[in-house]
C-alpha cells in the first residue's frame, strides 16, 4: 500500500502534471516503501519493453488506376443516390414539384352550369331549336346524299373504263388470232404436196 500523495502508476506512465510529479519525486526520496514500489513498477515496465515489435510479413500498398476509378462527379452522384434518406428526400421533392407544376398548368374546369345558363339566356324557344335541329339534319342528309351520288358516279366511271379496256383487249386478242390463222394457212399451203408429186 503506497502512501504517495498521487498514484505511483500515474507518475510512472507520465499521466501526472509537472507540479504533481515533483511532489511524488520528493515523497519517494523520503519514503523507502514508496521508493521500492516505484522501483518494482519501473522493473515491470522495463520487462514489458523487452518484447520487441515484429516486422510485417509484407507491406501494404494501395494502387490507383484512373481507368477503374470513377470520375469525381460520378462519385458525388453515387454517394448521393447511395444514401437512403437522401433518396427519400429527393423522391419527396420530385413529387412536390410534380404536384406544383400540375396545379399551375392544369386548365380550369369547363363551366357546365354556365353553358346551361347561356342557352337559357339566348331567348330561343323550343320551336326555333326544333327548326334549327331540322335544318341541321336536312343539311347533313343533303351532304350524305351528295357524297353517295359522287361515290356512285365514281364507281360507274371506273366500271365503264374497265369495260372499255376489256373490249379493247378482246379486240386485240381476236386480231392476234386472225393474224395467226392467216400465217398458219399460208404455211400449210406451202407445205401441201402438189398433185404430181404423189406419183
Amino acid at each position: 500500500m503506497s502512501c504517495s500523495p498521487f498514484d505511483l502508476k500515474d507518475y510512472l506512465l507520465h499521466e501526472l502534471a509537472g507540479p504533481r510529479r515533483v511532489e511524488v519525486e520528493e515523497h519517494v526520496q523520503n519514503c523507502p516503501a514508496c521508493r521500492e514500489e516505484l522501483d518494482r513498477l519501473r522493473l515491470t515496465q522495463t520487462a514489458l519493453m523487452s518484447l520487441g515489435e515484429e516486422e510485417m510479413p509484407r507491406r501494404i500498398a494501395f494502387v490507383s488506376d484512373p481507368v477503374f476509378e470513377a470520375a469525381p462527379w460520378r462519385r458525388v452522384w453515387a454517394g448521393f443516390w447511395g444514401s437512403g434518406p437522401r433518396l427519400g428526400f429527393a423522391s419527396a421533392a420530385l413529387l412536390s414539384i410534380a404536384i406544383l407544376v400540375s396545379a399551375l398548368t392544369r386548365p380550369a374546369p369547363a363551366p357546365v352550369a354556365g353553358t346551361v345558363a347561356v342557352v337559357r339566356d339566348s331567348g330561343m324557344g323550343s320551336d326555333e331549336i326544333d327548326r334549327r335541329i331540322q335544318a341541321a339534319i336536312a343539311a347533313s342528309e343533303a351532304r350524305q346524299t351528295r357524297k353517295a351520288e359522287e361515290l356512285v358516279k365514281r364507281i360507274e366511271d371506273r366500271d365503264r373504263r374497265q369495260l372499255e379496256a376489256l373490249r379493247l383487249a378482246a379486240a386485240q386478242e381476236v386480231d392476234y388470232y386472225r393474224r395467226n390463222e392467216r400465217v398458219l394457212a399460208a404455211n400449210y399451203g406451202a407445205l401441201r404436196p402438189q398433185e404430181g408429186d404423189a406419183r
Binding site: R40, L43, S50, E53, M56
Partner: protein, 188 residues
Amino acid sequence: MIFRAVEDADLIQQAARGAVEAYNLLVSRWEKRVYNYLLRITGNREDALDLTQDVFLKAYQNLRKLDDPGRFAPWLYRIAHNEAYSMFRKRRPETDVDELEPESVEAGIAFGGSSVFPLELSLAVAGALERLSPDQREAVVLKIYQGFKFEEMAEILSCPVSTVKSRLYSAFDLLKAELAPIRTRGVS
C-alpha cells in the same frame, strides 16, 4: 514530433482528396504499429496481417469523415479494435465479447524481434501477458507498447477513462507480481 504530426495531417488531407500516393506514405508510417497492436490482441500473424489490410482500406474509405487530422491515431486504432472484435464475434458469435480470448498465441510471436533482453525475460513477459484478460492485455498494449494517453485509449476502446485506468492498473499489479516480485530480505 510536432513536425511529424503536421506532416501526417498534410498527408491525411491529400489522401482525403484522393491522392493514393499520399495515403500509401501514411500507411507506411503506421502499418507496423497497427500490425503489432493487432498481433498482440489476436495472437495470430495471418489474422493480424489480414486485419491490418482491412483497417487501412476502411480508413481510406472513411478518411473524409475524420474531422480532426490530429486525432488520426486514436481514430485508426478505433477502427483496428472494431475490426478485431468483429472477427472474434464472427468466429464465436455465441460468446460474450468481454469473454473473448485471442486464439492460442503462435510460438515466437510474443517475444520476437528483441535481442537486447535475455530470452528468458521475454518468455516470462509473454507468459504474464497471456494470463491477463483480453481487456487488461489490450490496455497494456495500448499504453505500454503504443504509448496512447488515457483519453485516447478511452476513445479507442469506447469506454470511460476510469474503466481504462482500472483495467490497466489491475493488469499492472498482476504483471508486477510476476515480473518484479518483492525481494525477500535475508535475516543475518
